[in-house]
Symmetry: C2
């Protein structure tokens, strides 16, 4: 028994323990970096000048102007007028780079800083954009001055495709929100905005050719074509490609509110409010459907210059085609054995249309089919094994499965998920087909107001995984730098840290919100499936409850994980025990305060189950620390009852989850192990 | 001596002391309100329905949709599908109101709530918009449910003109920021956005007729015509008029970067970066100047439908005309005695142009001249006596002098400044010419990032002064409700409370900012003149320092003022003494923490003088409380030396001012009075 428990403990502790402190807060970590001795760093002040040598164009000029604005804001004084050959910061770019940024755009740069100047060199403007972000992150200071330490960096990304999917179909995100997200993406060197623009719950793009698409399919929330162009230009200025997704043949109910003639069932068709499962999908049997799609894509390619076009292709429910007698007759007449064969046919037609418009097709896992042309890119949302299957069949692949930000998992989970893990069985040729990865922010439970808090800082962990060398896997150092990233984004105006207080003010405009803020340092939203199955909800449900004020991977979770690790791994760490005891006491004593606030609104009253569960969890934790401190054997009944009680707190309590239950379990396991 | 000190104390206490608690948090206070007994309020839940009876139009529909969205967000569930005759919330409007909202638009409404329904009745859509804001502010809750208390309200504004000037010339504010401000204005029932669109430092409007205006005069920061139309429509949807100001003949340097031919001096003319004093003003001697202005206004009236047009007219420096020999010859030839006569001529020409375009002219104080047509509105920025002079001469007038938000004075100062004070010597006819007032947010030291924190919640005090009855002057209750307003705006996404943390994160992306937040609950930006004269600054200076993270009228100032009042007015208030002692001890002990943070960046190190001054002020306050508690006579030397030391802390310390110095002085005065 004792042996088994020790084994269990060692398994619990299997995550890497070594803390390799980085000498700075760069995120992502560059491929190669050598810090100087730092005796004489480069001072930044009102005498600093910036000079662009060799190549320049308007995009580079704008990037440099943004860099100067941000650096000046950081140091609080304007730089001097641009200097001549003696400039402090010199930027040397070879050429513009690709007219439409492609997957093989060169993003490399080198940065050399000594006490006289910073020299940034890049073959393309995009490389320079990456290097300027690094330079900004290197600015530090002391009491007297701001400076950049002596450093030599040679950097380039590990993967070419480093993306973020933003779902504006289920909940719309205004242009400003998209731009804030692009600013954050640029900060961590992501390079693809995968813009999920249509869904059962909304069609988000103005079509001049088919105006009923946005007029009837969007509830009035859509992007005008001028806004779309503006976003594409804004992204290009930051070295980010915009890949549009118009999901078909499924996830397409909103298309048919205005154009039911292309649907698998007759009118009227309304915008779907419930999550999961379409009310109608495209009718693959009519030639008019393809003409319609062709014309629509023809209109859109003028707005989205990217070479890739995402057709979705996921979760096509057979019932929509099988339930339509005419479509079924057509299917049999054409000799398609099943609906999978029909979808393959539909996809081949799309491939032809896209090729005509000069676009390469991307689709989700389900598009994979023997008849799919191999140049079609497969994006894997169901797991790394699906990615392997796709590349083994010769398709380029993008990994998304482990990077679902909306699933509310901790940053560690993303960070340690490698698109090409060390032990991969793929051949070198197959590995070359793995283009990279994409984080996904599906928006069933994410609104404009909450998206910053669900994207950041966790998206930084994905960004580093896709940019930095494979061996960069130091979790504690990642958390240290994610914390800096969160502060940087907050300073830029994103609602990363201040999200909670703002949402709590919606619930409670005045009075002390501190007890709720304390609760939400450790209580988090439930995982995606738990929320989906927990309370009946749909697109009309306001996302303004305590769960929406909560944050994924809350700050105290990682803190407790670290402290528990120190306590259970021995030697005796009194400081860690005391820190835990202080935290547990605070959380236990917080429950009556939360309860008191609940008398003012039912939406706060709904947080008392989680608050009480946290109090009980903390109480058990305190008792466990007590036994450990006294070297005492806890009564086995206490151990057993506590374990059972904690088990009850593992799931959501109301709409919140206590994030540290499994850490308290570890304390109990070690207690059981020590004493048995 | 003793008598004099007691007199001084009673003067210090002259502000109203009675706390008349409002039964709710409505801001502004309605003209007439009767609360019911409240035994059976109106419950709001997923069964609530909203119905518009009688008149409806698209503007009303949008207003109701916004109301429903906000109410649903507040209660966390969607309302039921719009109901029939049994609807819970009934909105009855008589007619659309004016096609272009005018100064005499009817903004009245009545609201009757019982346990079965809320009935909102208004003669116009604007009245309904006002009433919906009131209804939203009435929503409250307990542990079980949300509800609106039983109430009967008859409401209308005291003044017709309740405005806010936003200066986008000196620092540009993007459309989103303007919209956020309009949302806040609607919350407190303000009805005029006075948009100061051109300045020496920037011309902010796209002109298709004279494109060099925005191309060369704006640094690229200007509103496109489509954005301007969008803002005007957005404002109209909220019952807010948009009055554009294009300041002339002075404050106009930026016009001449592109069109020097209309300036008082030859090209080249650059955008002026320094504050105060133009580099060039309009040339009044050339006919081409008036043709140019005529054509420009002709282009703009299509965008700005408001009947009023602001020509600025302030601070015209004689030197620009006197220093030009040709203009001087022309002035003499025309028989104008001085430059004031020239400006009067210029203004008469403008009046004619504006009349042709169907617009009524507004100008600042200085436009007042015997030859100015009496329909011209005079906006007073130099004091209430200038307003009186204008209305005595038959001009309609708007008061702005006491409402300069950028001067960083406390809300009390705005609240107690009445455009028509009780003892006014104006005749009834003259009083009728006082249209109302306008708060001003000049932007020498205000950027997009800081403007929310400088507007709010103090603007609420001005809004209430202009809407509510004259007798509503309860300062403590105003502060209570401003606090609720701040929370409401924060919940809507404005950066009112979270401003400080966000700006501090720009200075310090990671680490504990709490010591700085503590400092900024009591240290505030210096008054306008102090900052202008303090440190050399211009348009290029980033507004990202500690002073920009600070807030006007910081929360602890009013708290200390209240506590000190309780301590000095007797009878012995031990609780107030203890509270003060706790605060003082906290601020004294905060100084070393601020000092430690300063080692990380010079911008934080710059806050140590203020932090140290606060610590010393608090130490003296603690000693004073000690003497008071012990009923002890302080040594007169201590009293004298402390007074001298406090005197030294009255002005800015670095770029921050300790807001409570005068309150500690009050404690010393009472100590001196008690013992002498």
């Amino acid at each position: 028994m004792r042996h088994m428990i020790l084994l269990l403990v060692s398994l619990l502790l299997a995550a890497p323990l070594t803390i390799v402190a980085q000498p700075n807060s760069l995120l992502p970590v560059p491929r190669n970096m050598r810090m100087g001795e730092g005796a004489t760093p480069l001072t930044l002040d009102s005498g600093t000048t910036v000079r662009v040598t060799r190549f320049r164009d308007a995009r580079l000029d704008r990037a440099v102007a943004r860099f100067v604005d941000r650096a000046e804001a950081r140091i609080g004084v304007p730089f001097a007028v641009p200097g001549g050959p003696t400039a402090t910061i010199v930027i040397e770019v070879t050429a513009a780079g690709q007219r439409v940024q492609g997957i093989d755009e060169n993003e490399s740069y080198s940065l050399h800083v000594n006490n006289e100047r910073a020299f940034l060199k890049a073959p393309t403007v995009v490389g320079a954009i990456r290097g300027l972000e690094t330079l900004l992150q290197l600015i530090t200071g002391d009491e007297q001055r701001f400076y950049v330490p002596e450093v030599a960096i040679e950097d380039e990304p590990r993967f070419h495709w480093r993306g973020l999917l933003v779902d504006v179909g289920r909940h719309f995100m205004p242009v400003e929100q998209i731009k804030n997200t692009l600013d954050g993406m640029a900060l961590v060197k992501l390079n693809v905005l995968h813009w999920h623009l249509s869904e059962d719950q909304g069609f988000r793009v103005e079509s001049k050719r088919f105006p009923k698409l946005h007029q009837l399919g969007s509830d009035g929330s859509y992007y005008t074509q001028s806004e779309l162009r503006d976003v594409v230009a804004y992204a290009r200025d930051r070295g980010i490609r915009v890949v549009p997704e118009f999901d078909m043949p499924g996830h397409s109910t909103a298309w048919f509110v205005g154009y039911p003639q292309y649907a698998s069932r007759p009118a009227p068709i309304a915008i779907r409010r419930e999550w999961g499962g379409a009310d109608a999908i495209f009718d693959p049997s009519r030639e008019e459907t393809y003409t319609f799609i062709d014309q629509f894509i023809g209109e859109m390619v003028a707005i989205f210059p990217d070479q890739y076009w995402h057709i979705g292709g996921d979760e096509v429910e057979a019932k929509h085609w099988n339930g339509n007698a005419r479509i079924t007759r057509w299917r049999r007449a054409r000799g398609f054995a099943n609906t999978a064969a029909v979808q393959a046919h539909f996809n081949r037609r799309l491939t032809t249309i896209l090729r005509k418009h000069g676009r390469v097709m991307i689709g989700w896992d389900e598009v994979l089919h023997p008849q799919l042309p191999t140049q079609t890119v497969v994006q894997s949302w169901r797991g790394v094994n699906y990615l392997s299957e796709a590349v083994r069949k010769g398709h380029p692949g993008i990994l998304s499965a482990p990077y679902y930000l909306d699933h509310i998992k901790p940053a560690t989970d993303f960070y340690l998920a490698d698109p090409l893990p060390a032990g991969t069985t793929l051949t070198a040729e197959q590995q070359a087909l793995v283009l990279g990865g994409e984080a996904c922010m599906w928006s069933e439970f994410v609104s404009e107001e909450t998206t910053d808090s669900r994207l950041w800082p966790r998206l930084g962990a994905v960004a580093e995984r896709l940019w930095s060398p494979q061996h960069v896997t130091d979790v504690p150092d990642m958390y240290r730098r994610l914390d800096v990233l969160a502060g940087r984004l907050e300073g830029m105006g994103l609602r990363v840290q201040s999200h909670t207080a703002r949402m709590l003010r919606q619930l409670m405009p005045t009075g002390d919100i501190a007890p709720l803020e304390t609760l939400l340092t450790v209580a988090q939203p439930p995982f995606f499936g738990q929320r989906l199955n927990g309370v009946s909800t749909n697109q009309l449900q306001p996302l303004t409850r305590i769960v929406d004020a909560a944050r994924p991977d809350p700050s105290a979770r990682w803190l407790v994980e670290r402290l528990v690790r120190r306590v259970v791994q021995g030697p005796v760490d009194v400081a860690a025990r005391d820190s835990l005891a202080t935290l547990f006491a605070r959380w236990r004593d917080n429950a009556p305060r939360v309860r008191a606030l609940g008398t003012g609104t039912p939406l706060i009253a709904q947080s008392t189950p989680a608050s009480d569960a946290l109090a009980r969890t903390s109480e058990i934790g305190l008792q466990a620390i007590g036994y450990l401190s006294r070297g005492e054997r806890p009564p086995s009944e206490w151990l057993q009852m506590s374990m059972i009680e904690l088990k009850g707190y593992e799931g959501p309590q109301g709409l919140l989850r206590v994030s540290i239950v499994s850490e308290i379990v570890k304390l109990l396991v070690i207690l059981g192990g020590v004493v048995s």
